[in-house]
């Protein structure tokens, strides 16, 4: 039987009840959310349940919504079932003051660096990660640059000495 978004949704609701919420389908990809406490349970269920078989972690990244108080940081997982050729988007949110989320790196080796990247840019603290340190930025950096509270430089500023950058 071909797997479809409805079957996945019903299966998840049957298993997790009202712990999984906000189902929606956009551009053909089913997305849903849950509380961050059960993210490993859900990922493992999606991985191990033979009728679902989401064994490939395509992408893991963070998004910062500064206006959602208490759920400012979102970790987005894109999963893929190769044999049924169906994608799935799953996200958990966490507060910017309490950024602990369980690591998926025990389930997917590929999550290792992607979680480090998410930590690097958003400061999501992945509990149980084997080597959670910055990956693209310098170790000494003391802020998380992709958060919205750090805007890009004002393009119209005039106080900068362009000579330092080989211009002017």
């Amino acid at each position: 039987m071909a797997l479809s978004n409805e079957i996945i949704q019903n299966n998840l609701i049957e298993k997790f009840g009202d712990q999984v919420l906000n189902f929606s389908t956009e551009s053909g990809i089913l997305s849903f959310e849950s509380s961050k406490e059960i993210n490993l349970k859900i990922l493992q269920y999606l991985y191990e349940e033979p009728s679902l078989g989401f064994t490939f972690l395509t992408d893991l990244c963070g998004v910062n919504y500064p206006d959602n108080i208490g759920a400012e940081l979102v970790v987005v997982y894109h999963l893929h079932n190769f044999s049924e050729n169906i994608r799935l988007r799953y996200s958990v949110s966490t507060s910017v003051n309490e950024t602990a989320v369980f690591t998926a790196s025990k389930l997917f080796e590929s999550a290792n660096w992607m979680e480090r990247e998410t930590y690097d840019f958003f400061g999501v603290n992945f509990i149980g990660h084997p080597n959670l340190k910055r990956i693209l930025n310098v170790d000494e950096m003391d802020y998380f640059p992709l958060r919205k509270e750090y805007p890009l430089e004002d393009q119209t500023r005039i106080d900068k000495d362009d000579e330092m950058f080989g211009r002017g």
Partner: protein, 408 residues
């Protein structure tokens, strides 16, 4: 041994039986800016730690201030060996997100450009594997065909490496006759050269002994590590985005997906080589389909989407409508719909994904690039552990790590 006991040596100087070796950040073996800190026991690799980020340019942050069309030049600089695929991948993401329909001819033109880019990407990777095993000839010989590919890019978009090719909705201009003549020259000459290139390596005793059985990975581990593209196919998984989620009318083409079995350096080489033959076949089919268009259809090179596609300059000076759209596009005054999309294309190294989140503003709220290199480079330690240092160098080049794609 007793007479040695009272000598005090610095801590760790005797106990440590391995040597620490830095390969990179700038080293002839890395072909890019990234570092490997290896622990070697004699010539055997005990462990390694990869460091990336030396050319991190904050593309994801930069993209948050740019309207969609200004993000295309950023994508050039991801995998700069096949920039057109990145450009097209971004255009396709935007078009899917904005729900634009493209004429078939545009799709086929894009397929030609993307497959040329794939050839130039694989060509570099495979010939570099040759260089690292001691055969420089292949590398120098095929360069003239990469040059020809770059000349075709140049004819289409005006630049060679960081192409910024195409626009949202199509191409910036129609392909010239010179472009098609060069394409024909390429299609006529290149297959023979590729065959010669293959003959140089594929059954070469030295090459086989250097690459067979080194840097191998099982299909299971490769999937767990998030491998995609030729590296995954070399391990025996026939996953190809072009087949699984066709974009740009790839479903209209007849091609094979070559796979390997052991996922070692030799299989990766063979898979890339076989893919180049498939790419040639796809280009031929696309070129034939393009020649079948007649009349006005044969001149179509972009969709009719004035909100996103810049009007012709002479129209801007003479027509009110065109002037308005020109102004709105240039000033970035067109709001995006709310929503999010994940869209992927088959890049030179695997699944190149774009995760775009929009809050209804003029620029993306968040844009994330799924860079295949970044994800599979984690497996490097597992690939080379216990092997010879010289094999690690070959593995490094056969993975086709591109620093621009690692760091974004």
């Amino acid at each position: 041994m007793e007479h040695q006991t009272n000598i005090t040596l610095p801590k760790g100087s005797i106990e440590k039986t391995t040597t620490t070796l830095n390969i990179g950040p700038t080293h002839p073996a890395t072909h890019g800016v990234f570092q490997n800190i290896m622990e070697v026991d004699g010539e055997r690799v005990v462990s390694t730690e990869q460091t990336v980020g030396y050319i991190h340019r904050a593309f994801e942050k930069l993209a948050e201030r740019r309207p969609l069309y200004q993000i295309t030049p950023i994508t050039d600089r991801l995998n700069y060996c096949s920039s057109p695929i990145n450009n097209m991948g971004w255009h396709i993401t935007c078009e899917r997100f904005l729900k634009l329909d493209l004429p078939k001819r545009v799709d086929y033109l894009r397929v030609i450009i993307m497959e040329l880019a794939r050839i130039s990407d694989h060509l570099i990777c495979n010939s570099i594997v040759g260089v690292d095993t001691g055969a420089y000839t292949g590398f120098l010989y095929v360069m003239q065909y990469r040059e020809l590919i770059y000349e075709i890019y140049e004819e289409v978009c005006g630049s060679r490496l960081t192409t910024n090719i195409g626009r949202i909705g199509g191409f910036e201009r129609n392909f010239t006759n010179t472009a098609f003549t060069k394409l024909e020259k390429f299609l006529n000459e290149y297959p023979k050269v590729l065959k010669e290139f293959e003959n140089l390596f594929a059954r070469n005793r030295i090459f086989m002994e250097r690459t067979k059985g080194t840097g191998g990975i099982s299909a299971e581990r490769a999937l767990n590590y998030g491998f995609t593209g030729p590296n995954l196919r070399a391990a025996g998984v026939d996953y190809d985005v072009r087949v699984q989620q066709p974009y740009s009318s790839y479903q209209d083409f007849d091609f094979k997906v070559p796979v390997g079995t052991t996922g070692d350096n030799y299989d990766r080489f063979l898979v890339r080589n076989a893919e180049m033959y498939e790419s040639i076949s796809i280009i031929k089919q696309a070129y034939q389909k393009i020649q079948e268009f007649k009349g006005a259809e044969a001149e179509v090179y972009h969709a009719d989407v004035p909100e996103y596609y810049l009007p012709k300059k002479e129209d801007v000076y003479t027509k009110m409508e065109a002037l308005i759209w020109h102004f709105k596009i240039i000033m970035g005054e067109i709001d995006l719909p709310k929503g999010q999309i994940y869209s992927a294309v088959e890049g030179g190294n695997g699944e190149l994904g774009f995760y775009l989140v929009s809050d209804g503003g003029r620029t993306p709220f968040r844009l994330h690039f799924r860079r295949p290199c970044f994800i599979y480079y984690q497996a490097f330690e597992e690939l080379i552990k216990g092997g010879m240092l010289s094999d690690a160098v070959v593995t490094l080049s056969s993975l086709n790590l591109i620093a621009g794609e690692l760091d974004a």
